[in-house]
Subunit: 296 residues, 2 copies
């Protein structure tokens, strides 16, 4: 599966891609073909230009540190800008980190409440001292004509052949246990949470990486009637209880909770590939941040 294309190769491939619905809007071609350097803002704008209906008025996809005008020396894509990821970016001389999730422990990255906190101060100073810009690309990447995170995760799971560019996939029938083993291996997650009967056959998958909210997860399950819902996370009083109740009344519905970071890491791989294709001059690295929570 090709998730996106270079704007440079656009003319030769455009008919195929348009047929695939990847691009709906004309885009600027060859604009940076001979440029040697790019700013943070230019990269942000190039991505946002590919998103239908963008730019959005209300979005969490703001610059968390750094400036749009700074010249990019290298790019790291990841789910969370952990301290380890930031330090690796510094080693790699990459001064632009594109994250998918918050940097400061809340959805809006509000920081007033953290101002006197040593953890916040340490991270903020580490970023400032090394002149690192952090941009959250969450709403935009999800709102590409084909959700970039979903597509990236599908690729990571080896499910390209079953992907119809939405959240419902019919994969070859296996047991729930076999499916969990497959996901563990592909996403490198050693242990995983689930609701359901491990021997239940599963084929129809509702794939919802991240945390779209219990109500949306349940409403999609009500509509699609999958064998299994796969999520990043969900408040336990929402989807896990719904699936538990479904099981108790005899409905074959399972739930796999991958963990937030691992469930969407394919989206950061997607972002790295996008940058590498669009801006091959810029050294670009995908550094998985991995699940924060271990299991014992």
């Amino acid at each position: 599966m090709k998730l996106f294309t270079s704007r440079r190769n656009f003319l030769s491939k455009s008919s195929t891609l348009l047929a695939a619905g990847v691009f709906l809007h004309p885009i600027e071609l060859f604009s940076h073909a001979k440029k040697a350097t790019f700013t943070v803002g230019e990269i942000m704008d190039a991505f946002i230009a590919q998103v239908p209906g963008a730019p959005f008025e209300n979005t969490v996809d703001t610059l968390k540190t750094g400036s749009k005008t700074q010249v990019v020396t290298g790019i790291v894509t990841t789910m969370f800008a952990t301290v380890s990821v930031i330090k690796k970016a510094i080693e790699l001389n990459a001064n632009f980190i594109i994250v998918h999730e918050p940097t400061f422990y809340n959805h809006l990255d509000e920081t007033e409440w953290l101002e006197n906190d040593p953890v916040y101060q340490f991270k903020q100073e580490l970023l400032a001292k090394n002149g690192i810009a952090v941009w959250r690309n969450h709403d935009y990447v999800h709102r590409l004509e084909i959700d970039g995170v979903q597509a990236g995760v599908v690729q990571q799971l080896g499910w390209d052949d079953y992907y119809k560019q939405n959240a419902v996939l019919e994969i070859p029938t296996s047991t729930l246990e076999e499916l969990i083993s497959h996901i563990k291996a592909k996403l490198e997650v050693p242990a995983m949470r689930y609701v359901g009967d491990l021997s239940q056959p599963v084929s129809k998958v509702l794939l919802l990486p991240g945390a779209i909210g219990g109500r949306r997860q349940i409403e999609m399950a009500m509509q699609e009637k999958p064998d299994v819902i796969i999520v990043g996370e969900s408040p336990e009083w929402e989807t896990p209880e719904y699936v538990r109740n479904s099981n108790e009344m005899g409905i074959n519905l399972s739930l796999i909770v991958i963990g937030h970071s691992a469930s969407e890491e394919g989206g950061s791989e997607f972002m790295a590939n996008w940058v590498k294709t669009e801006f091959p001059e810029i050294p670009t690295f995908h550094i998985p941040s991995g699940n924060s929570l271990n299991i014992i």
Copy 2:
């Protein structure tokens, strides 16, 4: 530790209890000493009367099914009214279930969006057909002079000697791994999620059962500087990331995520004990609903 007292024994024990801060307000004594039957509303009102500042205008602690006027045949206390718990209540001829968490998969127990859903319909009909009242006692039990859930969980964990009637406990020093083993054994949870170094010594515990929100968890950690935060659950982009960052910068702070249901089940045991003491005429049972999510 005595978590509450019978109103019948109040006069003989009142000075000790008042010293312990258990009761701040005068309560009605002997009111039902000779009554044989009680309604759902009478039991609710008796509990609410013990809560400082109650009744609350805004609360999720409403009757989810049944009626305040129905005569109680028996009481089951639990975290979640799962289908299994409801069926056990029916077997036990208990027509009143006191839960701590939502019955219909969202905090406010809104049900319009579920009206055509077979899982909701099944559960609703099971409750209606068997005339079972479900009352959520969440805000009230947490707002007793001593938080009933916290006190119940402390008792379950065998930490009465270290309890100062708030969320901070100094327990004998162990490693994080030993502490996790202790919690697993006491709360009967086979596997558990955590952030931190398993060999880290831990003594100062911030015990926050349930899901009080990442920001509140973090703010309390900022204030109390514990060795370990113990929670029921937290969105992964909130407390788990904060603790991961703390570790990365060398702060000895760990996080244990028990799972929501198991983390507060001690509160349902507390509720059962309260009913047994206050209304000994009523057959009362604590049925743990257990964590919805298994780990493999």
